[in-house]
């Protein structure tokens, strides 16, 4: 029982770490990569000239729906009595904001919010010295999560070219599909910007994912280690009991041998005795686990533990348990085996 509790504590610790990491991943969105680049006024013109081409490269390589680009100029808009609202600039490649049905129709200026403002059909804003109207709509999640904004003005790039040349922050948000894609994207992004001698900051869940994989791997080893460790402890315990029992019963065993009982019969007796003890222990463990699980509400379920039936264990764990039990039983027979080699005449007087 104590061994089982200790094993449960160790496995629960690993499961808790795994759960925490998964929780972090879910918050950060597991395969999302966020990169930001501060472009000074010296470089702005050059970078602006290349951003369209760059955006096409990343969208072609990873999918137009997976990679989004926005820029944030170094100025804000104003709304209602000088309330400052950040501006984000969207390019041609962001169809989410481009609702104009024809090229002759200008793209709109959007008032993005998380719905906690009381807004009309249009809202008047002021950008630098110019008043204009903006159209309220809900802030997309990928903007609010990555830029931590609850409101912003989204302006098409063609309206903001002049201001962007004074400097801006260039954001790229990629929602990829696999760990391999994330690793490749980060590698390509870093290499591209290094070659351009541009500094970029990349934030991803890659480290968390790698830590999670490490924890999962160690968990497998820990489970095997715990099971084998329990097997060794059990075998030492059974062996000690067996040895003490032998010392107590060596006289009885010698007497039975003096009647002509073959040593193999006594050996088999010891084997079946230990086997039944281990079997009883394992069966009891199933029922005890069920009781523990049922009394722990949903906590253990959240950690990924399951209530098991008599045949519900994964094959790997079942195999380890049976192997550990068998090794324990065999090791526990060693004292009896050694004792049975002792001549009867040295024990019986």
């Amino acid at each position: 029982m104590l061994l089982g509790l200790l094993a449960t504590m160790i496995l629960t610790l690993y499961a808790e770490i795994e759960r925490e990491l998964k929780s972090q991943l879910e918050k950060n969105s597991i395969y999302r990569v966020f990169s930001s680049e501060i472009v000074s006024n010296n470089e702005a013109a050059t970078v602006l000239g290349r951003t369209h081409e760059e955006e096409q490269i990343w969208k072609q390589r990873y999918g137009a729906d997976k990679v989004r680009h926005i820029k944030q100029p170094l100025l804000s808009a104003f709304w209602k009595n000088a309330k400052s609202i950040p501006i984000i600039v969207y390019g041609e490649a962001e169809p989410e904001f481009r609702t104009n049905e024809s090229l002759s129709e200008p793209a709109k200026i959007w008032f993005l919010s998380n719905g906690n403002l009381s807004l009309g059909a249009v809202e008047r804003i002021r950008v630098l010295d110019r008043n204009t109207v903006s159209y309220p709509r809900e802030m997309p999640d990928w903007i609010s999560q990555n830029l931590s904004m609850d409101r912003a003005i989204a302006i098409p790039q063609e309206f903001m070219e002049v201001y962007l040349r004074k400097g801006f922050v260039n954001y790229t948000i990629a929602n990829l599909s696999s760990l391999e894609e994330v690793e490749d994207y980060i590698e390509q992004m870093s290499a591209y910007h290094d070659a351009e001698n541009r500094k970029i900051k990349i934030v991803s869940s890659l480290e968390v994912i790698k830590n999670l994989e490490k924890v999962t791997r160690f968990q497998q080893l820990a489970r095997a280690g715990v099971l084998i460790g329990c097997g060794v402890i059990l075998s030492c315990t059974l062996g000690s009991i067996s040895w003490l029992e032998y010392r107590q019963e060596s006289y009885l065993l010698a007497l039975l041998r003096s009647f002509g009982t073959p040593a193999i019969i006594l050996q088999l007796h010891a084997f079946f005795e230990n086997f039944l003890l281990v079997l009883f222990g394992l069966v009891s463990a199933f029922f005890v686990w069920r009781l523990i699980y049922q009394s722990s509400d949903t906590y253990l379920a959240e950690l990924g533990f399951e209530e098991i039936g008599s045949l519900g264990l994964p094959l790997y764990d079942t195999g380890i348990i049976l192997l550990a039990g068998t090794i324990g039983v065999l090791l526990a027979m060693i004292p009896t085996s050694i004792g049975l080699r002792k001549p009867i005449g040295l024990i019986l007087q």
Binding site: L252, R257, I344
Partner: protein, 216 residues
Amino acid sequence: MKIEIEQLKFRYPGAKEFVFDGLDFSADSGITLIKGFSGCGKSTLLRLAAGLLPPASGTIKTDSPYAVGSPRFLQVEVGFVFQQINLLPLASIERNIALSLDMAGRSKGDAKYWLDLLGITKYAKKMPQQLSGGQQQRASIARALAKSPSLLLLDEPTSGLDDLNTDIICKAIRKSVSQGTTCLVASHDHRLDSISNDILDFNTFLPVEEHLQTLV
């Protein structure tokens, strides 16, 4: 059964000196009394003859088809009465004897005769610890005799017993030997001299230990 011991050498584990250093001995049907001072090897010889101890060298041969000391030899051929009785403590007298008979492949009905001869029929269902020393001794002998062994080995069978018990035991031994059993009895008891056909006296050829000599 004839038993022949040739050039037997034996010493206990860790001992420097041999208990037997080239012993030659043989015995046939009848009672051979083995005598000698304490510690000279009387009990050891009995245990070697049964195969309960392995000799360092030398041979122990019998005309049994089973090897000396093998489980089958012990089951069928040997009846051993230990100095310390050695009844199974958690079995009744009846069960002790029945186990010995089962191992030898004999009928349990054979037990009754020996229980009657040794006067312990009414104690058959009792546990060993409920009997006196003399009664336990007789029960141990009954267990050995019940399976009609070819080789009967008795280690101090009358030690501490009164004349009545000794007479009963002697009678039982004689009865067993009359059926062709080879009997080796290790004992100091002079009351057994009268029933023995042959005597092996270790005093005649083994040196008495020095510390005992100084006490004489």
